[in-house]
């Protein structure tokens, strides 16, 4: 049990290294879920639960200065408890979400207090012209958070798995059903957020085109993307003729960034 908790903690540590290795999505549930599955001996459940949590947490993505619920701690513990209790993806979210909110509260202590204080140290080394120490502080600041996430998952799993099992069994059916409904709706927040970043008056019809192709014609997302690329090349001239754009499409106007 301690070994499993330790390994799960390592998965959380690794997940946070996402931000040390190029913001490469390593921290997402779809990646960490299968790893949790490997540790707990049910690889396939890890993949499916990871995918479900990925969609549920789609909107939980850091854009600009928005700090989302902590998908690493929430995702790893949620997947782990769902596998241990054998209750599947819906339970994964009912576990993952409160844990993710708790973990982001701890994150925010670091982002608003601890790290700005460490940045002061970096300032004083910069005054002395010491590039190396500024780099060291930068990396240590990151690894400190990795370690905190390790501890949260390690303690959460070793202390909580039995307590959590009892807790999950005690949840009334109306709550689990309600949260299952919510998991279905939550990806909508993610899509709305993404749409907000790129939506403008010129492209609104294409949103509905994509929707209708899927709703009525059951076209998979890849097919929709391919059709989109065809439309783009049929509509736009990429040879650098500026007038073409102005007459055919008009200017791109960003609504609100």
């Amino acid at each position: 049990m301690v070994l499993k908790a330790f390994l799960l903690g390592c998965i959380a540590f690794l997940g946070k290294c996402d931000l040390a290795t190029g913001t490469n999505q390593l921290q997402r549930p779809i990646i960490l879920g299968p790893l949790v599955g490997l540790v707990l001996g049910d690889f396939e459940a890890g993949i499916t639960i990871g995918a479900t949590l990925e969609l549920a947490f789609l909107g939980s993505y850091s854009v600009g200065a928005f700090i989302p619920p902590n998908v690493i701690v929430g995702g790893v513990l949620g997947t782990a408890f769902a596998i241990v209790t054998g209750k599947g993806p819906a339970v994964a979210f009912t576990m993952a979400f409160p844990i993710a909110l708790l973990a982001v509260a701890i994150d925010n202590v670091f982002f608003s207090l601890v790290r700005p204080l460490l940045a002061r140290m970096a300032d004083s080394f910069a005054e002395k012209g010491n590039v190396h120490m500024v780099s060291v502080i930068h990396m240590c600041t990151g690894f400190l958070t990795c370690t905190v996430l390790f501890l949260m998952v390690f303690l959460g799993f070793s202390v909580g798995s039995d307590a959590m099992k009892a807790f999950v069994n005690a949840i009334p059916e109306v709550i689990t059903n309600g949260l299952t409904i919510a998991t279905g709706l939550l990806p909508g927040i993610g899509f709305a957020m993404l749409a907000q970043m790129i939506m403008n008056k010129k492209v609104v019809p294409f949103f509905f085109l994509g929707f209708v192709l899927s709703a009525y014609f059951k076209l998979p997302v890849v097919g929709i993307a391919i059709l989109g690329i065809i439309i783009i090349f049929a509509m736009l001239d990429f040879t650098g003729n500026k007038d073409q754009l102005a007459t055919n499409i008009g200017e791109v106007d960003d609504d609100d960034f």
Partner: protein
């Protein structure tokens, strides 16, 4: 003789930065967000990225190095994957600053600040809005069936283009300097590129709204065997009507700047209410 990678790119104007330095900057741009915080955000990551190159530029000028280090510890935030582009421009300008007495050093941070907004806009919509959606869509559609290719494809679809982009950004940012955005913009290609990306992005989001947002009503008209399921009536009008309505509502709430955490908690409460009264089916 030194090899090509060791020759300063801008040697005729007294530059010292070589292609090797820019490749190093590319690698050092990877932990850009590792020490993010609310106050100055990615500033330490930025310093980490260009620090060794600054040391090289100000090799014989310790005071100049201190000023440069101080300068680049100011606020910085941008889509992480395109930051080497700004880093390259900063280095080109730092070289100018070193070799030119009259150069106004404050313009270095002015250019940085001017670039981080537009580049974040492009980067967020291309990388987070389009590429990530594509990766999640393809990855999860396989992974929900337990297929291990799902996570693998998700990872590759996102990372192969972003790593290439990072590398190209590091080289081109330095080479083309501060004029780059203006050049692309005046050729009209930037606008087309942005439009094409947003068309592709919203089409995929539209498709995924139907495919991946799930909402079905459990309400019935009448009772017993003759009851009419409202969901089948809705499907007759338009399949996916409820997911579309839910996403539209979220869109409006976000436009009104409602806190996302509140929306998520609200959704959970709404789900429980719907389960209690049988409005939506689990």
């Amino acid at each position: 003789m030194t090899s090509k990678v060791d020759t300063p790119i801008n040697a005729e104007n007294g530059g010292v930065i070589t292609k090797k330095d820019l490749v190093k900057m590319f690698w050092r741009s990877l932990p850009m967000e590792f020490s993010w915080h609310y106050e100055r955000q990615m500033h330490m990551g930025y310093e980490f990225m260009i620090g060794p190159a600054l040391e090289k530029i100000y090799k014989d000028d310790p005071e100049g190095l201190k000023e440069a280090l101080h300068r680049h510890l100011e606020f910085f935030n941008c889509t992480a994957h395109v930051t080497p582009f700004i880093g390259g421009i900063s280095l080109a300008m730092e070289e100018m600053n070193k070799n030119n007495e009259d150069f106004d050093a404050s313009s270095i941070n002015a250019v940085k600040a001017a670039l981080m907004g537009p580049l974040s806009g492009i980067g967020d919509s291309l990388i987070l809005g389009t590429l990530r959606v594509l990766a999640v869509g393809i990855g999860t559609s396989l992974a929900v069936k337990g297929n291990v290719l799902g996570p693998i494809l998700f990872f590759l679809i996102f990372n192969i283009p972003t790593f290439i982009l990072r590398y190209v950004c590091a080289i081109k940012g330095y080479e083309l300097g501060a004029n780059y955005l203006e050049k692309v913009q005046s050729s009209g290609l930037m606008e087309k590129f942005m439009l094409a990306a947003s068309i592709l992005g919203v089409m995929v989001i539209g498709g995924m709204t139907n495919e991946l947002v799930a909402a079905k009503t459990a309400l019935k008209i009448g009772s017993g065997k003759s009851a009419t399921e409202i969901q089948s009536v809705l499907d007759g009008i338009m399949p996916g009507l409820l997911p579309l309505a839910a996403t539209g509502l979220y869109y409006k709430l976000l436009q009104k700047k409602v806190n996302v955490i509140l929306i998520i908690i609200g959704t959970a409460i709404f789900g429980i209410i719907c389960a209690q009264f049988g409005i939506l089916a689990a």
